[in-house]
Amino acid sequence: MIPVNKLIKFFFILTFCLLGPLNVLCAEQPSFSLLGSQDSEISDSFHLNYQDPQVIYGYRDRDDHTFGEVLGSIGVIYGISWLIYPIVMPTTFREGELSDYRTNFGRIVWDKDEPFWNWFVHPISGSQMYLYYRAHGHDRWSSVGLTFISQALWEFTIEVYTEPTSFQDNYITTVWGSILGFGLENLSMHLLNNGGAISRFFGHAINPSTLLWFYEGKVHFIPHIDPREGQENLSAFLIFDF
């Protein structure tokens, strides 16, 4: 009998390993159907003269998120948090009780965890939350704020099942996480936009939100030179992936 948590871990690893290479392969061939034209002359010029299409990764900072949209993004992270906790720490989770939840609820302490959790796991999870909100089109400070909300929900309503809310975790996950996220954001954009398949693989690996359907910063950039006499124009098409 294979334990369920091992199956879920295997599924996550498999998805992660498959998504990277798949996305790299797919990114090389953006769809040209959007360029379709009934005008055969123009259509020919596209086929003859378009330059190598490029996929450009970046971030769009939107300020038109609806309340429902923001709530949905927070809800997804909250749901994943409930799902991940028993998988990552099955023994600790099994030891938790509802009475502990009542006792721990609202208590804030300095936790005594080992540095691995406080200085490695929390900043990394914070950075991925930050990058998740960035991928949703939030600007940097909105992403920091939403990371704090997600982190606070985790600390005050999920982790209290086994231990009181940690004072330093709230700071470390939000601030250190956002600082790390800011670094990973820049590094991943550099890797995704300047390099080959391996570079793009690592770009996605450190910023997995760029692989997901909601990522708003992916742009197909297609330079085009019109060769018709007297009309030597350079133009480009930008196709946003939504």
């Binding site: 600790t92 300095w110 540095p115 086994t162 231990e163 004072f167 700071y171 800011f182």
Partner: protein, 250 residues
Amino acid sequence: MKNTQNNTFYHDLLKLSVICLCLFSFAVEAKYQSPTLEPSKGIQFHNEFSMRAGMTSGYMDTRGLQGTSDKRATIGFTTSVSYRFKRIQWTISSYTLFGGISNLSYDTKVIQFSKTSGRFRNVAITPTARYHPNIQLGSFSPYLGAGILWSHRTNKLRRAQMTTKTDLSNNKINYESRGLIIQLGIHQTNQATNGKFPLFIELSLIHSQSRNVSLIDTSNFRKTEILSKQDAPSEIKNSKVLLSLGARLF
């Protein structure tokens, strides 16, 4: 008895400092938000969040039980997130410091440790109010900050004399402390760097005193166990002078 009196005085001083800081900042803001005053030339950005990170190093003097003391250099990281009005900037900063321990004595109330040696990790989180005067020093402008500090120090001992024999590799001693911080710094203006990573240099003076002590069993990596937790008012006193260098990230 003397210790308790000192402790009460110390906490009253902390509360008073917080109230004074709040009143001071509100007064300054009220003055500079006044529409009758002309806008200041020295102010480079207002009503803005900022996230900063940098390295910090300095000198610390730790005083333990039985008159023991340990003076040594320390190194670490500093981060801060802040919101600036016109003159006043509200900040939450953290200082993470690492270093060694020698010859300090600790009393966890279960086991007494003396002639210790090992390593420590110190995390301090401090809400501060900073005042930005209208002074320009080239592309830099100075600021002065003050605030209260909560600190958590983990002592991981390698060698010690103990009243009860215990496995030091599976135990650590935690002290929670409170204190005060004063910051004096200069930061590069946004215009000087075109908004990209303005630098800051900051001198911080920190004094903290312990509140409680815990002996922790770390044999289970996933979940540590608190073997004992006791009040330890002013048992460990710590003073630091730190020099931080870093940049505003965004």
